[in-house]
Symmetry: C2
Subunit: 486 residues, 2 copies
């Protein structure tokens, strides 16, 4: 039998680690805080990359690659930036057997090194907009790490763009936020709130940081992607200037935006259950596993040859409109050293969305048994109908996972009007709490220190209403979204 994993109810945190270990998504490495992304986990990341990369290119961005190392002095050029990142830097002091004249930091993010190039490449408004994206590894030395969610090194993409006006930069910032929202909801089947970060929570060096915020099954929020309007902060620090249409000289208006391997942690904690990983079909590396069932050699030959024909017919089924990113991926589990029951458990653990059971009795009836990973529902389907039915079920799973996550999320958004209600809701129910806040960093900090809840965002197009701050009692214009978060 496959090893049991901890249940969510008994220890959510251990359940998360068990899923990662048993589904072979990642492993601990000998380097403190750095994980190894194993093939199954990396295959999910490749799916994420493929979808997002296409969306970035469709919105006019081009990929490039900038150095891993950044001269230490660069980090100091933007005042907020250095304050935010200095404590987390990994520093190269020696290379090629010698002490370096200037230390190099391993990029925690690339605004500085990229602006050094932008300043060289941009002369005129004709060079704008400049729309660049980079897929890369970055390093932020964290004290408490957790696979996928918070690791010293992680993989991500970072978009960096330059514009003529603040309005264009703001438009780009929101455009990419919408790309992230659409990806989270349509591909990850993960509902998100889109909003603005408070000054306290915004990116070090940004004018405005927007984010998408999701709810995990334990009631904690998770920031799944951010999009920053950098204004002219980095352009001024690095002298990224251009001649405007009217002939004057101005600093470029910039944005940056990123999502990382953290999304895999978000996927796990949004959909998975006590049997193991649950993956939305659009990001599942394997969509279907066929389990051949037989006892005699004769049965074996008949079942295997039917399984192969069935797999081919499923793979050949057209899927363009389903946005699966390619044909349905089918694996036949031909391992004869394992029992059927073991295989059922194992593939449920691995999160394959659909299992097809095929045995001699099924063959006799010209059918196979289809079992969904999300609901566990089983149905017998005539062989020739299976390819079409498979695609239908996969899309239904995709939709169902989103619906289920949305219902759970919506049940965990609570309006409160007093600080007592606020703390009680956080302690008993968790989730997002919508509450009035006076808009000051001091009150925000007080609430965080007292409850561990932070303002996740001020939702986009937020309803404006008169109210009283739950903590300070001062007047407030709107409710903001609080939560305890990863």
């Amino acid at each position: 039998m496959a090893e049991k994993i901890t249940s969510r109810a008994s220890d959510f945190s251990q359940w998360y680690l068990d899923i990662i270990q048993h589904a072979k998504l990642a492993d601990y490495s000998p380097v403190k805080g750095c994980m190894v992304i194993r093939p199954t986990g990396y295959a999910i990341w490749e799916k994420v990359q493929k979808v997002l990369d296409k969306k970035f290119k469709e919105t006019g961005h081009k990929n490039a690659y900038f150095p891993l190392f950044i001269p230490e002095s660069f980090i100091h050029k933007e005042a907020q930036h250095v304050e935010g990142f200095a404590p987390e830097l990994a520093v190269v002091t020696h290379a090629g057997g010698k002490k370096l004249e200037e230390n190099l930091v391993v990029r925690p993010t690339s605004e500085t090194i990229i602006n050094a190039m932008f300043a060289k490449w941009i002369q005129s408004y004709r060079d704008l907009p400049l729309l660049i994206n980079q897929w890369a590894n970055v390093v932020r030395w964290e004290m408490r790490t957790r696979p996928f969610l918070r690791t010293a090194e992680f993989l991500w993409q970072e978009g960096h763009t330059c514009h003529e006006t603040d309005a264009e930069a703001e438009e780009e910032t929101l455009r990419m936020l919408e790309v992230y929202r659409e990806f989270a909801e349509t591909y990850m089947a993960m509902p998100v709130f889109c909003g603005l970060k408070t000054d306290t929570e915004r990116f070090a060096g940004a004018v405005r940081t927007y984010c998408i915020e999701a709810l995990m099954q334990d009631g904690k929020a998770l920031q799944a992607g951010t999009s920053h309007n950098l204004g002219q902060n980095f352009a001024k620090a690095f002298g990224t200037q251009f001649q405007t249409r009217t002939g004057s000289i101005d600093h470029t208006y910039q944005t940056s935006w990123g999502v990382s391997t953290r999304l895999i942690g978000a996927l796990i904690m949004t959909h998975s259950d006590d049997k193991g990983l649950v993956l939305p079909p659009r990001l599942a590396p394997t969509h279907v596993v066929i389990i051949p069932i037989f006892k005699t050699d004769e049965e074996r030959d008949a079942v295997l040859s039917k399984a192969k024909l069935l797999a081919d017919s499923i793979r050949a089924w057209p899927t363009q409109k389903a946005k699966l990113g390619g044909p349905v991926s089918v694996h036949i589990d031909m391992d004869e050293g394992k029992s059927v029951g073991w295989k059922f458990n194992e593939w449920e653990m691995q999160g394959v969305p659909l299992r097809i059971e095929l045995g001699p009795k099924d063959l006799a009836k010209n059918q196979a048994m289809l079992a969904r990973r999300d609901t566990g529902a089983k149905e017998a389907v005539t062989i020739t109908d299976i390819p079409a039915r498979t695609l239908d079920i996969l899309l239904d799973i995709q939709e169902n996972l989103f619906k289920r996550a949305l219902e759970n999320r919506n049940q965990h958004v609570t309006d409160v009007n007093t600080f007592e209600e606020f703390t009680k809701t956080l302690d008993t129910k968790g989730g997002f709490v919508r509450a009035h806040w006076d808009g000051t960093a001091a009150t925000e900090k007080m609430i965080k220190d007292e409850t561990k809840a932070t303002i996740r965002c001020i939702p986009l197009n937020n309803l404006q209403e008169e109210g009283i701050c739950i903590r300070s009692g001062k007047p407030s214009k709107q409710r903001v979204l609080f939560a305890r978060a990863y």
Copy 2:
């Protein structure tokens, strides 16, 4: 007019740098020895990745990701490995504001950190073969750098595999060498010699290193890819053991193999000319550029609308069998701020394989002018025939570039029998020199010190023949391939 580039004849080295600068493939960064790969250069790398990644998966490999940092002690576990890489390491001594207990080196290659994981993952022959690939950045602190060819940081893929027997490891080593050869010749249109490195030139820690070696237009050789049979060297250093089919315990037999962004340097120096970059169509990010030609607004409208229809019809043409990796990529240059002549030069500089000129006179004749980048040949083609003809020409360019490079390469392989002939050939003609060698490292070193020529490889299936070493006069069993190399 587009700026002129240095000619190959006057200064090959400057010509190479000019191409990189003017075709915007890469740029110098503020970090010594680290380059920035600009969008055009990165798009070529993405094409390389796409083709190779597919081939790796077809041969059973799965992608994963291992930490950037390696504990310094790991590098010391394999004696040859540390000797080879220690002088080139970049070392992180501080992180998170503190001095580290153990220094971390930035991976120069990942055999050590990967073996630390293999040792954990592999217990039995049932876990073998284990076939892993990683796309990553690596750092080797080089004194003299050159964009794409030799940079402190570069992008590459590194395959790492474990097997039950030495024979299987050798088979895998040669299988991946063949993948590289086929890629070099079929996609890069770059003929290569496949062979074995001498003990002096083999990878630090390998039992045998195989390579593909190409000839650049200046007569120097370039190592374009390597595939290593590591034997049990790393397995022994890291305790990567497994229970065999007979129940005994053995160390795994391993391989590793890699190609890097150096391939882009190889592409440039194999095919490009004094007008700029020349790209084989299978790796060209843009296959066709359409240059609309007009004077009046009326002409403009007619030409542009025809150009768009033409572009769409070319994009829609089926290309599966052409192995272009997707539809024909077409760009219409609608920039009205540049002259037609400037555009011709600019797109030749950028290496777009086919230019289509479309003006009012062409429209009147229901045709357009097609101009090949490789030969400069022009032909008028009827509009409806253009999509099919475009594909034909692209494939012909692909073939022609290979043929041209092969002819040049073959003209630069010289058999010599004396040291005088040897040095004279190197000095006057360059290229590969086939000469007898006594098989000792001492003679190899003497020849290198005296002539700067190294043994590029002992070709696979090399003819065995009695001879006399050109330098020592001692008996030799075979000729080996010498060259001055990058």
